[in-house]
Symmetry: C2
Subunit: 355 residues, 2 copies
């Protein structure tokens, strides 16, 4: 049985996996959002212990540098919130110690997402689920997060029956190594040098790889499976069908998604309700938390990944009626994978835990 | 009334727009396929007249160099086949002269594609339509060509009701200038220099642009509209619904497409037919002309754009059941935009005209 420590107004926050791309971004987001930490601690494997990382936000040490400490089972005694992004095996290894300490673990890996007693949370969608946690709250997969931020206001307007989504995922989803590999391969390609392939299964420079994560028995990838099951869990919509194709493309850090939404016209008919108009969908998105609509075709304005790097919002555009179904809309959705897709969402969950 | 010249076994072939990316590729394909031309002529605007272009295939001049001639209304008198890829306005300008000469125009632009008396042809799908031509045969849009090569064998197996497709289109679709701009912008980006934007509406290096061609009244782009209407025309399937999203990504010359296919289960039920299995779909594709199935998830084998540059086939992989509908499959389709998407398909039409 989990017993939470009372959450102070100024909690002690630890970041597990501070040296990774997401860990670094979490630190940046804590500072930018002025998260009211009493203290911020940097945890990592023994290999990184002693490294110094600049941090001058709330709870920073006097010299403006966090010193990385080796994470052990004893790291959580006087910690209130631990943000994990060091890989699923590390999260599994340390979860019992975090829970036993009475701290709250906000886990960015897929280790616990589908467990019944672990809320899977995108605050704009299901913040209310947070209160059911038993010491662990899971941060969803990047592709799922930005999709549900865009889908939920539409689903509240009229029930969605089916979503077909194809992703355009950046190298940052494979961490700092992925971004570096895209950079290095591109440089080598332009200078007629030999490419090195390590972070990805194939060359990523000037190429697409239609595989992210491992293959499942049904021939989907685990990344695609995550989009199916996580979306249902977050949106409390077990019957919402999702058909994803996840593709890595040679861009650095924001993900894009092409989404076709089919409304549940049987349910709308049964309830005697009109089908939603495009203007209603647009209005729902414009009023939705965390969403910015960029949709001005005449001026060639729509969301694109490069301009959104380093921003916190989920951008939606290319809104149009999908005439291939009885009632449906199509849209294009972009968000920074390291921000809303990972670090920002985790810090938003931490914010929601504050008294 | 059009009266065709009799087509000789060794026709005189002219290429209109020889200096463009597609024009150059047509010349390469004529040579590689050993198209039995009696003579090959290079036509272009006055600006390019006098340029010399190496060509050593059938019908080459003794010195192995074609000399570009200015295209005029008199250019077609003793020509049998003219392959046009110099822009829609040029095709419209010269079509009357080609038709009056009795030659056959194979047009790579969108100028005539949807006209009733102009066959729109992908030889693997509707070669029989060629015989109905009145002097003009249209080459479909690149994104449509590779999609129908993959869809048609499946549609023959079981009728398709709806297709949702998202494209990952290369810079080559914007011609040689597009490829050069991607190259130059990428180089500038890596060397911290200022980028120049000319061929595309926005930066393409390390970015996606969810707009190809102009916007239509229904908020789709013309590229998306082409995929809808051209697919219906080529496949003789007026009721086949297509929901496309067309996106430019930073790769050089092959297009990829994420395709979700929904079978017409009402039609199958009415006919008392079983729904197709994944194995049947795979077999239909494996036996289809022009298709190569690369689909070995265990060995991370699937089609990717970079390895297909310069090849002639349409590659299909990531075959799987789409469980979000009663009966459907998803797949990933890749082809070289300059080859099957343009030059190769045009030369295949020319081959089909031979006696």
């Amino acid at each position: 049985m989990y017993t939470a420590k009372p959450m102070p107004k100024n909690p002690v926050v630890a970041i597990a996996g501070i040296t990774g791309a997401v860990g670094k971004e979490i630190l940046l987001v804590l500072e930018q959002l002025e998260f009211p930490a009493a203290e911020v601690r940097a945890l990592a494997s023994a290999r990184s212990a002693g490294k110094r990382i600049p941090y001058t936000g709330p709870g920073a040490p006097a010299d403006g540098e966090l010193v990385v400490q080796e994470m052990t089972d004893d790291s959580f005694a006087d910690v209130d919130i631990v943000l994990f992004s060091a890989g699923g095996d590390v999260s599994e290894r340390f979860a019992p110690a975090v829970v036993a300490s009475g701290a709250v673990m906000i886990d960015n890996t897929s280790a616990f997402r589908m467990r019944d007693n672990v809320p899977l949370v995108v605050p704009e969608v299901n913040a209310a689920d947070i209160k059911n946690h038993q010491g662990i709250i899971a941060n969803p997969n990047c592709t799922t997060i930005q999709m549900v931020v865009a889908l939920n206001p539409i689903h509240q307007l009229a029930p969605i029956k089916r979503v077909v989504v194809s992703t355009y995922q950046s190298a940052s989803g494979a961490g700092a190594e992925g971004m570096q590999e895209l950079y290095d391969q591109t440089h080598a390609y332009l200078h007629d040098e030999e490419l090195t392939i390590e972070a990805f299964a194939h060359q990523i420079a000037f190429n697409c790889i239609p595989q992210i994560d491992v293959f499942m028995d049904d021939l989907s990838t685990k990344e695609e499976w995550k989009m199916v099951v996580e979306t249902k869990k977050i949106m409390h919509a077990p019957n919402l069908e999702v058909a994803p194709t996840c593709v890595r493309i040679p861009i650095l850090r924001s993900h894009s998604e092409s989404i076709n939404i089919e409304f549940d016209t049987d349910a709308l008919d049964a309830a005697g309700r009109d089908y939603p108009t495009l203007d209603q969908v647009r209005e729902a998105l414009e009023n939705a938390p965390g969403v910015v609509v960029i949709d001005d075709p005449e001026n060639k304005a729509y969301p694109m990944p490069y301009p959104t790097n380093g921003t916190n919002e989920t951008y939606v555009g290319r809104l149009r009626v999908d005439n291939s179904v009885k009632s449906g809309v199509a849209l294009w959705c972009v968000a920074d994978q390291l921000r809303k897709g990972a670090a920002l969402n985790a810090v938003q969950i931490a914010q929601a835990l504050l008294p």
